[in-house]
Amino acid sequence: MSTLEIKDLHVSIETEQGTKEILKGVSLTIKTGETHAIMGPNGSGKSTLASTIAGHPRYTVTSGTITLDGEDVLEMSVDERARAGVFLAMQYPVEVPGVTMTNFLRTAKTAIDGEAPALRTWTKDVKAAMQQLRIDADFAQRNVNEGFSGGEKKRVEILQLELFKPKFAVLDETDSGLDVDALKVVSEGVNRAHETGNMGTLLITHYTRILRYIKPDFVHVFVDGKVVEEGGPELADRLEEEGYDRYAAGAGVAVAPAVQA
């Protein structure tokens, strides 16, 4: 059982107009086996939270903490965070020239586990995982994300999730740009990883669509860098009907008390 704890997190970025605060005090606790959905309109800071957890250098934490089982995540370098068990499925995975998927996957697995995977079982695992995600076998020989379509890139992110077996997965709008079939395939992958019982999930999404396939235990609504409402799966249903308009209506929104500790 692991716990990823975010406490009163404030994050800013440097822009041409100066420093801009994006996250204005976010607190969130995720435990193994739980799925938390973070929902909110564009520009509310959802992706900033994801990138900050992974340690993207663009984001500066001005105050607050992130800990993984008590260890200070903010003190760790990007690769140390990954090795500690944090995985970020990126919204826009970059193309890495010159590195084949096969080579990349093996190198990453070796780094995360601290030892090279047994070649025989590893090859089998990769093949099986690719098949389940309906990724063509020839992708293994292609360079990382090079020439992949948007949907293919997302499937490859989930492939990594399944192979690297992180303690916590942060899915940054993995559903955006996917058609229904791809959405199902990707969701099944996340659910498989979740069913191992060793992973907690932070699912960041703009739409409620993916929540039909991945059932959240908790839903947090993000507006303007803060959690403005929290609830169970029923909150997602309400959002589907009503949209984010009522939050955008102004500062008068009453923040519902947190339903979980």
Binding site: A54, G55, H56, P57, S77, V78, D79, R81, A82, R83, F87, L88, M90, P93, V94, E95, V96, P97, G98, V99, T100, N103, F104, T107, A108, A111, I112, N143, V144, Q160, F164
Partner: protein
Amino acid sequence: MTDITTEKARIGAPSAQPFIDGFTEEGENLSPVNTGTNTSTTAEQPSAGPLGGASAKSHSHGGGVGIPDSSRAGRLTSYKLADFKPLNGLEEDWRFTPLKRLRGLHTEVLNGAAPTVSVTAPAGVVVETVGRDDKRIGQAAIPEDLVSANAWENFAEATVVTVPAELQAESEVSVLVTGAGEAPSAQHIVIVAERFSKAVVVLDHQGTAVVSENVEIIVEDGAELTVVSLQEWADTAVHASSQQAKIGRDAKFKHIVVSLGGDLVRVTPSTRFTAPGADVEMFGLYFADAGQHLEQRLFVDHAVANCKSRVLYKGALQGRNAHSVWVGDVLIRKEAEGTDTYEANRNLVLTDGARADSVPNLEIETGLIEGAGHASATGRFDDEHLFYLMARGIPEKVARRLVVRGFLNEIIQQIKVPAIEERLTAAVERELAATDN
């Protein structure tokens, strides 16, 4: 700041109307920091050739100096040194080269001790050392610049490697060229692949030298020849190498340039098709470290119909004032109908302070071709690549290596001589280890 320049490509000579749809006089824009600029085109209308009346006009180069030749075909060639004007560095073909660092190759009599040549060849391959009057000298090449002509005028003896007709050489021919000191010198090597023969010849340049070299390569009808030119010189070496190949009917020629060591290395390979049906591949790999100048200027002369050429050069750069130059001239002459050509250069800038110049030039004098394309991209191994790999647990150093190794491996694996491939892989690792310090 990293200094990345990618010049605009130019296609043919200027004309008021683009002669290929979608192409302007200046060619398409090539992004300076670019991960996938890639163009390919097939000329469809046999419109008036771009070298028609307007060819005499000079055209402007992005940021260039001097007056470029109006056509690559018009460049002065001569065996006589006196025919070439002294260099001032503003010439089109010397504008990127720091002449001061040529250490006299363009001004001195090249009578220093030439690098020693030792050849290891499989059974059947004939190796000779011959004098200047040997009839095979001058069969494939004629100097195209002053430094090459200077070597031609001054070389004392030549090494001739002949792969006799129909011989399938069972292993590679290794020509070890070892520098004999820093007095400016001249070198001459002739490689002949007679008809229907098949061989791999490796020119292996090592040690310390200040040398201008002419390599003549004859690929006779139906022959299949690979020439690998390795420049693994010591740090202070200066090397200019003109490598000219004459390609016969239905011949296959693969040329691979690998430049890693030396202070200044300038390789100018050219291939000339003399009969139809031939197929040429030209590959290059260079890794420029701090202060190193590695230059490659190639020329593919499609002078006859129905030949095919493919060019791919890849370079990595790291450290202050690491400088690479790639200029790819491809000329499709009026007679060369059915030509199929594509050339590309890719550079990967690993640190601040390095500079990669990349200039593809494609001249097309006939529209009746299969295809003609070119691409040039100079990219940085940037923070987003690094973040992606590190977010998967891969430490920074390993990530950097992974990318460079993969990037350059595409060329290394073309060599297909396992011992050489292993040696180069190890050499690239050493270059990378240098970054870590």
